[in-house]
């Protein structure tokens, strides 16, 4: 039995450390956003090339990279561990992710659209680069938000346990 407060503190610290470990493992890695962003820029550049062969080869290839990455990395993360979370936390994280995707699309469309309207060269590349920049910033932010929501929930779990009545045996 943990006879002293010091031992109990160490044990609780260990529990928190393991919680954080699980939550971290449940998130997509940092480089994921950079690869996705690079693929978006490649699509924009291919569109601007005006070469039908380049468009026909590069755009499906980049889209394939994105699909394969999303289709393998996310299930790989899910295969290892499924973080314990309440439905409301899941929905908040899902909303943040959808919001990020919508934001990236809006940035690409609005930047590229305004560049086309102003007859600026390489509107696709610049528009996609702007969207990619948003993705590499917003992706890790969504990760951080997810981590925060899940950690708060994990802490709540410990707090609820603490508030439970009764005596130690």
């Amino acid at each position: 039995m943990a006879d002293t407060g010091t031992e109990a503190v160490a044990e609780l610290a260990e529990i928190r450390r393991r919680q954080e470990q699980v939550i971290k493992a449940g998130l997509v890695p940092f480089w994921y956003w950079w690869v996705m962003a690079a693929a978006i820029v490649v699509i924009g550049a291919a569109r601007d090339s005006g070469d039908l062969v380049v468009e026909a080869v590069v755009i499906p290839l980049a889209a394939l990279v994105m699909a394969v990455l999303a289709g393998t990395k996310i299930p790989e993360v899910r295969r290892r561990v499924k973080v314990y979370s309440a439905p409301q936390s899941d929905s908040r994280v899902a909303l943040a992710t959808i919001g990020m995707i919508v934001l990236v699309d809006l940035v690409i469309i609005s930047v590229a659209g305004s560049l086309v309207a102003n007859h600026v060269h390489h509107p696709g590349t610049i528009g996609c680069a702007a969207g990619a920049a948003v993705l590499v910033i917003a992706g890790p932010l969504v990760n951080a938000y997810s981590r925060k929501v899940m950690l708060r929930q994990a802490r709540q779990q410990l707090t609820n346990a603490t508030q439970a009545g009764g005596s130690t045996t």
């Binding site: 943990a2 002293t4 295969r79 561990v81 973080v83 779990q157 439970a164 009764g166």
Partner: protein, 109 residues
């Protein structure tokens, strides 16, 4: 509502690590637990069997393609025991703080 109860089974260092990991997860893959905790297959199997025998852990075996996959999760009883153990730890901390405060207070003559 659960009561605070110090659990000797969970208190053992390796089992505490396993249960803490599983408490934060709905389920976790056997390999993931093994790698995160730096245990051997046999050591983890032994600890999981002990926890399973106590009714704290549920082991799920399934096939993904032709590969067998084993995952573990805390049972409702395991989750409750974990929460009671955490409550007991907090109680020990609170009590030792109270004792320290009482010891620090100058005694009235």
């Amino acid at each position: 509502m659960s009561t605070a109860r110090f659990d000797e089974l969970i208190h053992a260092p390796t089992r505490l690590e396993i249960v803490s990991l599983l408490a934060a997860a709905q389920w976790a893959d056997f390999k993931y637990i093994r790698d995160e905790l730096g245990l051997s297959d046999s050591a983890l199997s032994k600890q999981l069997s002990t926890l399973e025998s106590a009714g704290y852990v549920q082991i799920r075996k399934r096939f993904v393609g032709k590969r067998p996959r084993t995952s573990a999760s805390l049972s409702p009883a395991g989750r409750q025991a974990f929460e009671q153990h955490v409550a007991a730890l907090q109680r020990i901390i609170a009590r030792s703080q109270q004792n320290a405060d009482a010891g620090a207070r100058p005694s009235s003559v």
